[in-house]
């Protein structure tokens, strides 16, 4: 019953992160990254599309992927806070992707293993491999920047200080997620912590970074309690679509 809403949380995560990464387009630090960043964005938006479509069908109210993406406001979006964080610099952008992928890879692997939902297993099979690539690509950058110049190491540490407070929320199950987990449709988020920690520990060790203690993690995204950036992101994203109600594109 609430399963479609749990899938919506996932879809929002993917769309918002994909959108954020797409903001780099044409402005990456080197041409190779002008190719790699859209790749990552495309993976995420691709998954978002299937997830929205599926959520809309399970909801049964006739909402399409675009209805769900373009016609909900900031309080209705259910993404976690991590993915909406601004790009800031390349260090923040890469670390944000590393955190997300280090969570999503075991999430999709577990989905493949346990989910009763065929569509989700389909997404998982593809996305699991994509997330492995994101871990590798973003992880390599975290290592390069963490163990690069003094300046890059500073920026990387600053990124960790800024973003690590949003990590715990990844492992929190909202009420709707808990229902989907109990129903055997989606994996229990909290169970994936060990896999995540292992990935991060390994990369941070090479990057000469420390995993910080977070006494007060930031949460709220699953209740639509976002930061101030998401509203601006959505205002821009939805502007053309909303200016032409009912049009086909």
């Amino acid at each position: 019953m609430a399963v479609w809403q749990a899938i919506l949380e996932l879809a929002d995560d993917h769309l918002v992160l994909g959108h954020r990464i797409s903001e780099w387009c044409g402005h990456a630090p080197m041409l190779e990254e002008d190719l790699a960043l859209p790749n990552m964005a495309l993976d995420l938006i691709g998954s978002a599309r299937v997830l929205y479509d599926h959520a809309g069908k399970l909801e049964g109210a006739g909402r399409s992927e675009d209805d769900l993406a373009y016609l909900r406001g900031e309080r209705e979006y259910r993404n976690c806070l991590l993915v909406e964080r601004p790009n800031e610099d390349f260090a923040h952008t890469m670390l944000r992707s590393l955190y997300f992928a280090a969570f999503m890879r075991p999430y999709w692997l577990k989905t493949l293993e346990i989910s009763s939902d065929e569509t989700l297993r389909g997404v998982a099979g593809k996305a699991e491999k994509e997330m492995a690539y994101h871990i590798r690509h973003a992880g390599e950058w975290v290592i390069r920047l963490g163990d690069g110049t003094e300046q890059s190491a500073d920026r990387m540490r600053e990124a960790v200080a800024s973003l690590h407070i949003y990590v715990d929320e990844l492992f929190e199950s909202s009420d709707v997620a808990a229902e989907a987990e109990t129903a055997g449709v989606l994996p229990v988020r909290g169970d994936l912590r060990a896999a995540f920690d292992a990935t991060i520990a390994q990369i941070f060790a090479e990057a000469l970074l420390e995993v910080p203690q977070v006494p007060y993690p930031q949460t709220g995204g699953r209740a639509g309690l976002h930061g101030e950036g998401l509203g601006h992101l959505l205002a821009e994203m939805q502007s053309v679509h909303r200016a032409h109600p009912g049009a086909t594109w």
Partner: protein, 311 residues
């Protein structure tokens, strides 16, 4: 002179010239300039379309546009690689772009003002680019010819995609159709100008033809493009903004009205509406990324040193 003759004989025999072959300095220089400009055009070309990625009105279009802009970056990458085989580094070419020394296609100095521009750019601008580029797949310089084969394949996909966007708009709401017509009005003449000055006024043409870097004249290509595009516009029930455009039975092609060459030269000389913004934008991205490139280099050196120490 004997060398030049031998070289020309190879060209005439449709042999491919490869990077390590001896070649006249003028041939090399022409190619470096042309491939460089072409690469820069792909890179700068990411900006006007990139401007609409965050506002694309459906997720399908958003993904397609992202992929397209990414392809352009890819074209830039293999064109730079082709130029590098002639002994000029990517860094050097980038600096020439950012300092304003190197040119890129003037078309990208026009702004993208509505979503319809994304469709029309795909249809017309990529369409014109393909007309220019298909003959380049048989260019006498091997690396360039091979790069162009790949580029053309992707461009023709983009062109179809652009046409499909415009078709959706043309068949959509009145506001959408008006948006498509408006974009067509703005992009038609700049697209026509992409083929360059009339043959009579074209500087580099003759030698480039002889060297088989170029295989058709500007006016020949422009004619092909117009002849291909007019029926496409008719099919969409959109009007090309040229009242003089009409079928000429004798030549078996369309006649068109006079091109505004003042406008052409103004934009070519760097006074297009977005000229300063484009370079400022690229330069800001490049400067902002300096610390990342430095860090990558520093890390690679550290790693290398560690490897040597471990041996």
């Amino acid at each position: 002179p004997e060398f030049l003759e031998r070289f020309q004989r190879r060209i005439d025999a449709e042999e491919k010239i490869e990077p390590n072959d001896a070649m006249p300095e003028g041939y090399r220089r022409t190619l470096v300039r042309q491939i460089g400009q072409h690469a820069h055009s792909e890179i700068v070309g990411m900006l006007p379309e990139g401007n609409w990625i965050t506002r694309a009105p459906s997720l399908r279009r958003k993904a397609a546009l992202l992929a397209k802009v990414q392809d352009e970056g890819g074209h830039g990458l293999y064109l730079y690689a082709a130029a590098e085989t002639l002994g000029v580094s990517r860094e050097q070419m980038t600096e020439e772009l950012l300092s304003g020394k190197a040119k890129y296609s003037s078309i990208f100095n026009y702004p993208t003002l509505t979503w319809a521009d994304i469709g029309v750019i795909g249809w017309l601008v990529d369409g014109a680019a393909i007309m220019n580029q298909i003959p380049l797949c048989r260019c006498s310089f091997g690396p360039y010819a091979r790069a162009m084969i790949r580029v053309c394949k992707e461009e023709s996909f983009h062109q179809r995609q652009g046409y499909e966007i415009v078709m959706t708009l043309a068949q959509g709401t009145p506001a959408q159709k008006a948006m498509a017509q408006d974009a067509l009005n703005r992009w038609w003449w700049p697209s026509i100008m992409m083929f360059g000055p009339h043959d009579a006024d074209s500087e580099h043409s003759d030698q480039s033809m002889a060297w088989k870097i170029k295989r058709f004249t500007n006016d020949e290509l422009r004619q092909k493009f117009i002849d291909a595009t007019v029926p496409q516009a008719e099919y969409l029930d959109l009007t090309l903004p040229d009242p003089d455009l009409k079928w000429n039975e004798d030549k078996g092609g369309y006649d068109h009205g006079p091109i505004d060459w003042d406008e052409f030269w103004r934009v070519v000389k760097g006074h297009g509406p977005m000229a300063k913004d484009r370079i400022k934008d690229r330069k800001a991205a490049w400067d902002k990324g300096a610390w990342v490139r430095e860090a990558a280099l520093a890390h690679a050196e550290k790693r290398c040193a560690r490897k040597i120490a471990a041996e």
